[in-house]
């Protein structure tokens, strides 16, 4: 199972072996073992016009065993290879965190921090062109929650397909999105909605649910839980592709929320190798915008030093290079303010669903 075309377990193992083979071949030639991969920094992401998302550029880096640090990484990737092979053979899977703890037994190949193991798993995805689902590695973070009149079929532990309507078959917390949302695990069956509303904070998600916004506005509401997990981004992408429904992002007005939107719409730096499967280019930033702070006279906070720094660095981020974003960021810098979604409660609990969202949606031509 993969994004795009399915890889068999032999193909996955072969891809992993090619990493080990690159090292072994180098040593046979009397050279230090090495691993070649793209540079994974902001400087090396480019906008792919065909795919309409950001992807890694052409800059490659070679990690070879001439320094202790990179030699350790090479050794670790061999240990991971062996570990994944074992899991594939025995039909098991593990979380990234479990792998981090398992590495305790890898002697000199053990990880210093979990960040190291997460990064290396991503490196291997990139080098082998597999995804971590192929490696039987699961993320720690749980996926989003969804409420609305959409129906999925999910394969349960017994291997049976279960039909779930995200309005009628779930409680107030909604449908929990599993870590694997590919077609062999999850099917998008039917829906009766006009758009998908992705909400940054739990408080606002609950407010919209309590106010019955999903039925009133004919939408599915997704709680992003901060920076959205891969599966959250993937399911939004599928809803956009398969149901052709607009994805609207409703977040705080601060530089960190802008990044959440950017990762949904254009892809994240860390996952730029699979951007085309994760990024929903059609996603629209609904609010809260810097304009809204002024237009609705929202209670706001002063931008901190680190906020200002983040805004500044966003201006140099290709994902924010477009005119509209530049304007918003410049305006924010000018007024020096930020505001939370829930600041709308200034005008009462229903203001968001009765006034703010209808007005914002109307501006997009979505009336209800």
């Amino acid at each position: 199972m993969t994004l795009g075309k399915t890889k068999t377990k032999e193909e996955v193992i072969e891809a992993l072996h090619s990493v080990a083979a690159e090292m072994h071949d180098k040593m046979l030639k009397g050279k230090p073992p090495a691993m070649t991969l793209p540079v994974r920094t902001k400087k090396n992401i480019q906008f792919d016009k065909k795919l309409q998302v950001y992807k890694y550029g052409k800059n490659k880096s070679t990690r070879d065993a001439t320094a202790l640090g990179s030699a350790r990484v090479l050794l670790r990737s061999l240990h991971i290879t062996e570990f994944i092979e074992d899991m594939i053979e025995s039909g098991k899977s593990s979380t990234l965190r479990e792998m981090y703890y398992i590495s305790e037994g890898w002697g000199n190949g053990k990880f210093g921090t979990q960040n190291e193991s997460n990064n290396l798993a991503e490196d291997l995805e990139i080098v082998t062109k597999c995804i971590r689902e192929d490696f039987k590695l699961r993320p720690e973070e749980d996926g989003a929650r969804i409420i609305g009149n959409v129906t999925f079929e999910e394969k349960n532990r017994k291997g049976e397909w279960m039909r779930i309507n995200c309005r009628d078959d779930v409680g107030d917390s909604g449908y929990g999105v599993p870590y694997n949302v590919e077609s062999e695990k999850l099917r998008l069956v039917e829906h009766d909605i006009d758009f998908v509303m992705a909400v940054e904070t739990g408080g606002m998600f609950d407010r919209l649910v309590e106010n019955g916004f999903d039925e009133e506005a004919r939408c599915a509401i997704i709680h992003l839980k901060g920076q959205p997990a891969r599966s959250t981004r993937r399911i939004m992408k599928r809803m956009s592709d398969e149901w052709k429904k607009p994805i609207l992002v409703f977040a705080d007005c601060d530089p960190w929320s802008f990044r959440i939107f950017a990762s949904i719409a254009y892809g994240a730096i860390k996952t730029a190798h699979i951007s085309e499967y994760l990024a929903t280019n059609e996603a629209i930033y609904l609010g809260i915008t810097a304009d809204d702070i002024l237009a609705y006279d929202l209670p706001s906070d002063d931008l901190t030093k680190s906020d200002l720094g983040a805004l500044e660095s966003e201006l140099s981020d290709p994902r924010f290079a477009t005119g509209w974003w530049k304007e918003q960021i410049n305006l924010m810098q000018e007024i020096g303010k930020k505001a939370e979604q829930q600041s709308l409660a200034k005008y009462g609990l229903d203001f968001v669903t009765d006034t703010y969202l209808p007005e914002k949606l109307a501006a997009l031509g979505l009336k209800y």
């Binding site: 072996h17 090292m23 046979l28 050279k31 001439t66 030699a71 061999l78 240990h79």
Partner: protein, 691 residues
Amino acid sequence: MNKAEEISSKQKQIAVSEFFEKNKHFLGFDSLQRSIITAVKESVDNSLDACEEARILPNIHVELNKQKGDKIEFVTQDNGPGIPRNAIEDVFGKFLLGSRFHAIRQTRGQQGIGITGVVMYSQLTTGSKTHVISKVKQESSAVIVELGLDTRKNKAIKTGERREVWIDKNTGKEIEQGLRIRTIMKGKYQKGKQSVHQYLRMTSIVNPHASISLIVRDKDGNIIDQGNWPRTTERLPRVVSEIRPHPHGIHLGTLQRMLRESGERKMTSFLRHNFSGVSMRAAREILGKAKIDEGREPKRIKADDAQEMLNAFQKVKLLSPPMDCLSPIDDLLIKKGLSKAIDSRFASTVTRNPSVSQGNPFQIEVGLVFGGDLGADGPIEVLRFANRVPLMYQQGGCLLTKALESVDWKRYGLEHPGGRGVPKGPAALLIHLASTNVQFTSEAKEAVAENEEVHEEIRKALLEVGRGLKNHLKKSSQRKKAKEKFELVNIILPEIAKKSSEILARPEPDLAPVITQIMNAVFCEEVLDWDKERKIATCSIKIYNYTARARAYTILAKWPENEDTAMVDNDRGGRKETKGIWAWRLDTLNPGTCTTIKFGVSGLTKGDWVDTDIFFRGNGEIIGATRIDESLLDEIRKSEALIIAEKEIIKESNNLEPLIDRAEESVQKDISTTILESKEGQLSLSEWEVE
């Protein structure tokens, strides 16, 4: 008492207290915080000087107990020679007393206000008398006495004098000798850079032969601060001798008075017997240049001629004044002193050869410690000393600081923003100026005054420790790199080979060429250790050739060579390159092989030798060693030869001197006068300083 007498005595009374009041700032009693430091300083300086003179290893204990209000009970006790009963009054009761005013040699206290100031200050601020217990070894009991000051007569008033056997409260044993002072004064105890604690800590660094302890208690008797600095050496500072003045430092008035008071018949003998550094040859040359007849009688020399002579002094090459009037701490002891007070990774110390400025011998010592517990941000700690006395105030205005600031520390691995001010980093720097005549900027004696020669000497010493630091930093980064490389090729690489072969089910590759490719260098690793049983410092140097070619090197190592040490267990032989540097020529080192040089050094104690430098001669770099700088080596050889030559000249001139004297005397046929002359020929510092 008649009216006139009454008035005059009143005036006098006002004068003494007023003198103290008016001069509080330079006597060190201007603030409550400083007063307590000054009191401790005066008594500790006295104890150290007394112990040094009596050749006793000092144990000094200071106790400060806060009382009601801003009063503090002040107690100090030493194991010094004590003060004889009949001298107590003078020592504690008279200003400006002290034998040190009459000799040219290096001593701690030069103020003369001394402990009398403490007695005075206590009396003025709290009315407290000063309680003294003094025990002289030869006497069977200690003298106990309470002292006050009669400000009218500038004299101590003794009360309650009695004799008792002095028992140590802790051990229950009789105290054989020592001095204990207790009084109550106004004061404020504070911690920090300018505190009693810091003063004692600094004192212990430059007096490694002293054991010093401090206890500070609050009103309720709880200990709020304490310090304990045990001695790190049993070696007392050497006895300093007194010297005659050097012509380069003399003023006209002094010269005239010396001429006037001279008993010599001839100018040549006058010059040779009243000054240091003047040989017969030099005396003749001076007189020739000043156009003064050698046979003239000193008493008859007029002002004009004296001025001519003064000018001639500067034109003639003279021997340096003898240096045994100085008492440097010695670089090894500075290292020990610093490392006991400051936990650090690296210590580098330099004791420069004595030098002369305006006829005054002086000597610079510098110590630098780096790393360890020292704070990395903020300026480095500067520890200034003049004649073993800590200077704690006016850091910015002091020559020692200015010299420090004139060095470009960035080149030596310290942060030095803008190349100005005190550098930053985890370091502490000690600067010690030993001199027969330390010139201060003011009477407060807290900052050393500008002096080009002293400045230059300090700079040179600083550059030397700076180079040491740079080497150390380079070496530790090289060592870290080398360690990583060793781990890489010896541990990680074989595991990569094994694991990848397992995964691919292939045979393991031969790693030798891979290792050569990764390392592509020759490595040198030295380990210094201490053989506890044999009391020998050992050094083991390992050289690995991880290149594809055979290599041939000469390896050179620095070792602490001096009169007390010897190289032992040096099975490889080799030869002495120069003082402190030994060389071994290695056989050809084939690719992938390793060889070891081992030797030991006797005559050291544990911890004396913890750091060395390894050099090499040959093609290709060695990581962990430095290519020997042949010109530097030459310089070392030359300066060594110079020292030997100098010593021989001094020996010769000493042998020659009596001969010349006798020749002269026989001509004059006035032997008895000459003997008399040389006895009176020594001039006292007090007179010399007046001008």
